[in-house]
Symmetry: C2
């Protein structure tokens, strides 16, 4: 039998997927499972986007331009201008989701055996994109006690070798909800200029910033035009995860040229999703205001409820819709599985994402979970109550 | 300035793209350009697919399952059964186009520096997927004089090394239109079993088979369940290239497991396109009958018109909608560009794809072009007339 490749063997299973069969079994046993494990919001997609697809008059569902149409990219550039990011349509390659944007970016800037540095905990699928590209992730731990702020620059410098190609950040962060400050971005700027590295910022949660904080994009920073690459996606912004439209944005012409060739090889982003994404740019501001209000409300509820659990530690997120909670137990993987397999209160239980899957350093985050606050307030309150009851039972 | 990777530099530009600026200039000068260069059919997408998307009642455009829904995969399995391919839903991973299917398949079975063997001329984007995966294509020339039939098995054996992972064929072929016989598939079967290789068959043109020939899938062959991987796509079958839905099909559980992990890392295929693709399976048989009739008519017209050009050689395609023509000149790249830059007859000219881009062996196919017969009969007749006139002028 011919062999699967090392890449094929190494591709990690998503940290959440491992628990899916247990959740399915729990449902088969008649339990109601609250899903705090996934980044699929319950927020409605803007009707302007949905209607554009319903009212399409396509007769031949043809290829779109590999890099996205001129009009869509021009409208995107106008959107970014409103967010203090001055770029032009020529600086954008439209991709099939933020996933493809990362895959093509890493493909364009790394060769087999190269390294990238990522503060951890980080979005678990960065592992998959790295393995697909045959490269190694060097993690630097950020801690819950420091609110997951940027690790010391000396820690980055310790890891830099001739094989280091880039530093990758997620801002605001999944799974931490941390928002990097302008000062932190500037520290990274000095670093990448000193060592001639790329700075890749995954900014797909840009619209979800709370408490009057300001998002500071890598592309708003001057002097790193050749180093800065921004990854974006419509998935979270417009609650249209199923569209699969993202983009790569950079003022570095070589990056755009190289990623364009990856885009051309796969021919076209999905045409229907492009229609929805272009129309979504007309979403009125009050949509975002309402969504932000809703998330702030959920976050406040979640954090205050979690803080009632003795021995639990939680870092208040400044953006996105995730938070990391440290539990007063040793093994959150086991606990998460146990909640699905052996626990229920009045026929209800909770599914959370064990945080160990978001760390690259073995053994890190073993007592942490990631909670996505993508459910309504009432469900969140009940979910935290269930976690509290489960912890009490589990510890006995 | 940080460096683009070797992969990033090596990614080839599509052989067709190079000519696009010349075609755009020709149009700016007011010329009517007949496009024989692209695989974008003018055939209408089945209304059953288009209507399903128009009538969707989505409120939250959510992620789909990474591997495609159970129902879609079950219906796909039923579709394959009708084509003498007995597989189950569990043998299918739904992908974002045939492109992603190839990318994930090569990722799952190859490591950096591995090799795959492909009869040439072959679909140019196989180069891009290989470079993205850091692997090398070893080509074997098939010739126009043999109608692009399978090269001798001894030729394959000469190229096999410990690094060889797979043989990749396109059946029926883009750019040749050649349809491999059952005997040829069986020869490949013996070969891959002997050397423990994968046999990947890109069968996206399965529905386009002419003159009463039968398509013989690698998955209809017994005894190579662990070796055979089929790549498919809805793009050409239902003239919905912009949907971006394809799939990987194999009875090898390890392959399905490995490609699933690639699919999970990118989360989801595009949801709207899945709706269209699932509905497209209800396309009535007379749609395919009419389309086949149309293509046969076009092919017959094209080939008989081309044969009127003195010194031109053409291989009659048995499937798909491409053919390779050998021109009585030395440099078809130059000729194709010249037709767009310096030639017109009554304000009209033609864009063709120089075939050199479909060969991996340097210098091969220099006097050949690929013609896609995706235009109506009248346009085809005029296009060939233009090629004829252009050749006469060009030679002087």
């Amino acid at each position: 039998m011919p062999k699967i490749s090392i890449k094929g063997q190494k591709m990690p299973e998503s940290p959440i997927r491992k628990l899916v069969p247990y959740a399915e079994n729990a449902k088969k046993r008649g339990l109601n499972v609250f899903h705090l494990n996934i980044g699929q919001p319950d927020i409605k997609t803007p009707s302007v986007a949905l209607d554009a697809v319903r009212n399409n008059d396509i007769e031949v569902l043809a290829y779109a331009r590999s890099e996205g149409s001129e009009t869509y990219r021009e409208k995107l550039a106008a959107y970014y201008k409103k967010h203090n990011i001055n770029i032009s349509a020529q600086d954008i390659i439209v991709t099939t989701g933020g996933s493809e944007a990362l895959l093509f970016t890493l493909g364009s800037i790394t060769d087999f055996g190269d390294e990238i540095i990522i503060p951890e905990p980080f979005y678990a699928n960065y592992n998959g994109f790295s393995i697909a590209n045959g490269i190694k992730i060097l993690p630097i731990v950020s801690t819950i006690d420091d609110g997951f702020s940027l690790p010391k620059i000396e820690e980055f410098e310790k890891l830099i070798t001739p094989k280091t190609r880039a530093i990758l950040i997620c801002n605001p962060g999944n799974p931490t909800g941390y928002l990097y400050s302008k000062e932190e971005i500037e520290k990274l700027k000095t670093l990448v200029l000193k060592y001639d590295l790329f700075l890749i910022a995954d900014e797909v949660y840009r619209e979800f910033i709370y408490d009057g904080h300001q998002h500071h994009s890598v592309l708003s920073e001057t002097g790193i035009d050749q180093n800065a690459i921004m990854i974006d996606s419509v998935s979270k912004r417009y609650s249209m995860c199923g569209a699969r439209i993202g983009c790569i944005v950079s003022r570095n012409k070589e990056i755009i040229q190289a990623t364009l060739k990856f885009a051309q090889a796969r021919l076209s982003p999905p045409t229907y999703a492009l229609i929805a994404s272009e129309a979504a740019l007309e979403t009125p501001q009050n949509y975002f205001d309402e969504v932000t209000e809703e998330y702030v409300d959920r976050r406040n509820t979640l954090v205050s409820e979690l803080n009632k659990i003795s021995g639990l530690k939680v870092s208040t997120p400044k953006g996105a819709f995730y938070c990391i909670a440290e539990l007063p137990i040793d093994d959150a993987d086991d606990f998460a599985q146990w909640m699905l397999e052996s626990f229920n209160d009045k026929g209800e239980t909770v599914m959370v994402a064990p945080a160990s899957g978001f760390y690259s350093t073995k053994g890190s985050g073993k007592n942490q979970i990631r909670i996505a606050y993508v459910l309504n307030k009432k469900s969140l309150i009940r979910s935290v109550e269930l976690i509290k009851l489960a912890l009490e039972q589990y510890k006995n």
